[in-house]
């Protein structure tokens, strides 16, 4: 029997007149993701259909579907003609080997098909019981599995039992572009994932502090960005050398403000780069109060140097929840590799936890801010992943 994958979206249903825009974007994203796989892809009413793929490609396709934002669920269905006997055969093959309670849910778009949907479900259920009655029994309220029968107008019927949940959210690219500050830790890739899920197309920015951090630390960020890119439909990583700025701050400013001032420079550079590449927002992995640089006072201080929106999808997340997501998106194992990141170099013993903006500004007045940023902007490395 032929197989097909039925893909469904969720929130796009809520859209009104511009629904077509989102549908088209999701369709393009799925098509792009499947471009190296031999299959046909078509849009149906409120859903998409993948057909004519080989059985060996099925696990690869499934893996890809789990990484496309906007897909709510999918089902792998058997495809048969609109013929009651053939439909029964399909149902029967799906029930083979199953245990527990079941129900049949039929949907009849082809109104010329007889019997009608209620009758069809009843008849199929009865026939199934005749064959597998010793293993399964009917429970229409809380069945342990449901046999779905979808009789379409184009002469095809889809029969399936499992509905697999995916990322949900909105199609990437439908919610503008953002620049994610990525450090190599656990949080930033998760923040990136959350924004991808909401449809934001991301680029990444990493601050590299060679020789204070090594090539291995940079490679780690490249690896993480690549993983994130799977959700983003490819991704660009921009690497800025941050060493000189760190040295200058360290030399000229009070130790306690090291991190605060660094963050202010990072935000400025991020904003400059965003304008250059057309990003509309800065995305960070900050979580309120997690470390000294993520208290509300510290965030105020770093936020005050930019006018562009700064999105912090993890702001109210506990570390444990962030770790859960990072495991789910398979970035955790890479994130915990023990290399220094730019934040741990020149780490003061007692960083300012609640930096007073006036004092920060005073400390910063010792620096040629524009000159330093200008210099950093000149040496940006772009890695396309």
């Amino acid at each position: 029997m032929k197989k097909a994958i039925i893909i469904r979206y969720c929130e796009i249903h809520l859209k009104g007149k511009n629904r077509g825009y989102f549908e088209k974007m999701l369709k393009e994203n799925i098509k792009r993701s499947l471009k190296n796989i031999n299959c046909t892809f078509a849009a149906m009413h409120s859903r998409y259909l993948i057909e004519d793929f080989s059985e060996e490609d099925l696990p690869i396709i499934e893996e890809k579907l789990h990484k496309i934002a906007g897909i709510h669920t999918y089902s792998i269905a058997l495809v048969v003609e609109n013929d009651f006997e053939k439909i029964f055969e399909a149902c029967s093959s799906l029930c083979n080997g199953k245990h527990g309670t079941f129900r049949v849910t039929a949907n009849r778009a082809d109104k010329t098909f007889t019997p009608n949907s209620m009758e069809c479900a009843r008849l199929l259920g009865g026939r199934l019981l005749e064959v597998y009655g010793d293993k399964i029994k009917v429970d229409v309220v809380t069945p342990s599995f449901t046999v779905f029968v979808d009789i379409r107008e184009d002469g095809k019927t889809f029969v399936y039992t499992d509905v697999v949940h995916c990322m949900s959210g909105m199609p990437v690219g439908s919610a503008g572009r953002g620049l994610l500050l990525i450090s190599g830790g656990i949080d930033s890739p998760v923040a990136g994932y959350m924004m991808c899920k909401r449809g934001m197309k991301l680029d990444c920015l990493h601050f590299h502090s060679f020789p204070y951090t090594g090539e291995a630390a940079k490679q780690k960020v490249v690896d993480l960005t690549e993983k994130l890119g799977e959700y983003n439909g490819g991704i660009n990583l921009y690497v800025v050398s941050f060493t000189h700025i760190q040295e200058v701050i360290h030399e000229n400013c009070p130790e306690e403000f090291m991190i605060t001032l660094m963050r202010r420079f990072m935000m400025r550079i991020a904003e400059r780069l965003s304008y250059k590449i057309g990003a509309q927002a800065i995305v960070t992995g900050e979580s309120l109060g997690q470390v000294a640089s993520q208290t509300i006072e510290s965030i105020t201080s770093s936020n005050s140097v930019v006018t562009m929106p700064v999105l912090r999808p993890l702001i109210a997340f506990d570390k444990i929840d962030i770790i859960d997501i990072s495991r789910k998106i398979a970035t955790y194992e890479t994130s915990i590799l023990p290399y220094e990141d730019c934040c741990t170099v020149f780490l003061p013993k007692f960083p300012a936890i609640k930096p007073d903006l006036k004092r920060v500004l005073k400390a910063e007045s010792n620096l040629d801010v524009d000159g330093l940023i200008e210099e950093a902007m000149k040496n940006i490395e772009k890695i396309s992943l």
Partner: protein, 376 residues
């Protein structure tokens, strides 16, 4: 490029590779095969074994060689397969290949003891002998040359003394950083001795365990019964022959190489800015390893800085919050500020005094520049 990380690995010798090419070509046969070609392969391995034994003055009647896949495998087999149970003793300066085996023994409920180190990384012999007098020890493993500080343990004398106290002790030594680098004759009380090819310009994936014939040893890898049943798996013929050739090159010039590297080491040691660096390697350490610490700096940062000048050095351990410090250097009794700044320089006969001159200049300058930045 100046390569001063030869204790990590060395560049395979081109001539050693070339001479062994035949074993990847017409003489490719499986040494266990019964036809002529197989016999030739077996003979090639036999001659490699004879040569390796000769280099350390061990007679073929008393000792045998088991070729393994690396020094770590040799250490594992020596520790897990010579003595089944009893009291296992080693020191705190061992390579992880030995140290982790002892951790595993301990997890399995076997009694173990790690002897303290002297500040230069050599074993505190007094404590070892006292323990041997007091308790019945069954197995002892003492590294020949400490891979992090270059300290040389006089394993022949230690083994003699231990066996005087208790003749039943089985004595193993990890000779990976010693073999082919310094004159050494295997002492009569050494039962097991581990070697590795890639530390002397051989290939990675090739090692050996020297074993006294009378010493009981079980296999770690079971199978076709190669290596007298002690290490199954088709022999790495090419790797073994490259190992032999590389060893020949090292042993033909052993004294000369020793003096040459000693000069390089002394030159660097004398040229270091004493305001910044302290030398952790002792006076009597191997000329092939010089470990220094730049107090208040991070070894990894220094390492990366030197990289920009095309200079490759080693640092004791990964610079991370977890396991940040070298276990061995810590056991030498140094505090965190010293441990932070550890850089290991390790040499090979290919290094030149000109390289040392350039290195000293850049090393001092880089460190003092970093020091200025770090300690504004």
């Amino acid at each position: 490029m100046i390569y001063f990380d030869n204790a990590a690995t060395t560049k395979p010798s081109a001539s050693a590779l070339k001479k062994a090419e035949i074993y990847n070509d017409e003489q490719f046969f499986n040494p266990s095969a019964l036809y002529q070609g197989g016999l030739s392969s077996a003979n090639a391995i036999k001659s490699a074994k004879e040569y390796i034994l000769k280099t350390i003055g061990a007679s073929t009647s008393e000792y045998e060689v088991v070729f393994t896949s690396c020094g770590s495998e040799s250490d594992n087999q020596a520790i897990f397969c010579a003595v089944k149970r009893g009291f296992f003793v080693t020191d705190k300066g061992e390579h992880s290949a030995v140290f982790k085996c002892f951790c595993e023994l301990k997890n399995r409920g076997i009694k173990t003891e790690l002897i303290d180190l002297n500040p230069d990384g050599s074993i505190n012999e007094q404590k070892l002998f006292q323990l041997a007098e007091k308790e019945k020890i069954d197995f002892v493993s003492i590294v020949h040359v400490n891979n992090e500080t270059g300290a040389v343990n006089d394993i022949n004398r230690i083994a003699d003394k231990l066996k005087e106290i208790n003749p039943r002790i089985v004595f193993h030594s990890d000779g990976v950083q010693a073999y082919g680098k310094m004159p050494y004759k295997l002492g009569k009380n050494i039962d097991l001795y581990s070697l590795s090819a890639h530390k002397i310009n051989g290939l990675k994936g090739s090692g050996a365990l020297i074993k006294r014939k009378k010493q009981n040893l079980a296999p770690l890898v079971f199978g076709g019964g190669q290596e007298g049943g002690l290490r199954s798996g088709t022999e790495n013929l090419f790797g073994i022959k490259v190992f032999e050739n590389a060893a020949r090159e090292r042993f033909d010039n052993l004294e000369e190489n020793f003096k040459k590297t000693e000069n390089i080491k002394n030159y660097i040691e004398n040229g270091l800015d004493k305001e910044i660096f302290s030398v952790l390697s002792g006076k009597k350490s191997s000329p092939y390893i010089l470990t220094v610490s730049a107090k208040g700096l991070r070894g990894e940062v220094l390492m990366h800085t030197l990289e920009t000048f095309g200079i490759i050095v080693g640092n004791g351990s990964a610079c991370a919050s977890k396991n940040r410090y070298s276990r061995v250097i810590e056991a030498c009794g140094y505090k965190n500020d010293v441990l932070d700044g550890v850089v290991r320089l390790s040499f090979s006969p290919e290094n030149t005094i000109e390289e040392a001159e350039r290195f000293v200049k850049i090393f001092n300058e880089s460190a003092s520049k970093l020091k200025r930045i770090m300690q504004k």
